[in-house]
């Protein structure tokens, strides 16, 4: 039976993972775009991304575009798997209501 994931269940992280798994595998999203989409502060987003990165659910890629630093974020295969499992667990809780 699918299990809930405590790291992913936190509301901001749940929204981050929802956004990242909506993209195709290996597609990356810009930090600023993600911040605006989620309507959170830089610091808040950075803290939650670190937590997800430490868990191995996302990868953070720091690079330069036209000599300006940019940070891109994408979901790992493991991140996608645990997110799907978390969704399945949520659905099973609803079905057993």
């Amino acid at each position: 039976m699918a299990e809930l994931n405590e790291i992913i269940h936190q509301p901001v992280r749940l929204r981050i993972m929802s956004t990242l798994v909506t993209l195709e595998q290996n597609d990356e999203v810009d930090f600023i775009y993600l911040r605006d989409l989620l309507d959170v502060t830089d610091g808040n987003l950075g803290a939650h991304l670190r937590k997800l990165e430490e868990a191995g659910y996302i990868t953070v890629n720091k690079t330069f575009v036209e000599r300006k630093p940019r940070t891109y974020v994408s979901a790992t295969a493991e991140g996608r798997r645990v997110f799907q499992e978390h969704v399945a667990a949520l659905e099973s809780i609803l079905k057993s209501k």
């Binding site: 993209l23 195709e24 999203v29 969704v87 949520l90 809780i93």
Partner: protein, 189 residues
């Protein structure tokens, strides 16, 4: 970890909201830019075609199209940086092949149909461009392709019901519809 059914329901609703928001944001990312710019080019170009004469009209179309294309490309590149597509080279190749083939088919269709006046050529080009936009949208799984239908409908209505004012119709209603749809996608969709 245990949560109540109502918490699970809230979490699932949040996931669904974010999924839709992301899809719409990506799909409409550059669609609204190209719509507004193309609408402005049509507004100027077609209105000029209705009232001005040949050499000036050509210059107006050339200048507005070049400026519009450059602006759309610049804005498209800026928006494109928000999401880096892993398969962008494959997608780019597909887009290129698709438009190259469509232009060849369009040339063949125009040669066979042999339109007798500028209005017929204009309408054929508009319809083929809308087919292209729709096809490309479906090819890339974009959901922002529906706008091609009202624009094509406006063009057809103008062609059949107001032939004498067709170019002004296309400028004000065709271009205007595109600008309004672009603004709608940007701010409301």
């Amino acid at each position: 970890m245990n949560i109540s059914p109502s918490e699970a329901e809230e979490a699932l609703a949040a996931i669904q909201t974010m999924t839709q928001k992301t899809r719409h944001s990506i799909a409409s990312g550059s669609a609204h830019i190209s719509l507004i710019i193309t609408g402005a080019v049509w507004l100027i170009g077609f209105t000029a075609t209705q009232f001005l004469t040949a050499p000036l009209i050509v210059w107006i179309w050339v200048v507005t199209s070049v400026v519009g294309s450059a602006l759309a490309t610049y804005m498209g590149i800026r928006v494109g940086r928000r999401v880096r597509i892993a398969s962008s080279s494959v997608t780019g190749k597909r887009i290129g092949i698709f438009w190259a083939l469509l232009i060849l088919f369009a040339a063949a269709i125009i040669a066979v149909a042999h339109p007798t006046d500028g209005k017929q050529i204009t309408l054929l080009i508009i319809l083929l461009a809308m087919i292209g936009q729709m096809g490309m949208g479906l090819l890339l799984s974009f959901s922002a392709t529906w706008w091609t239908v009202p624009v094509a409908a406006v063009a057809l209505v103008g062609y059949f019901l107001a032939p004498d004012w067709f170019y002004l119709w296309m400028g004000l209603l065709g271009g205007g519809t595109m600008i309004i749809l672009g603004l709608y996608i940007r701010f409301r969709w």
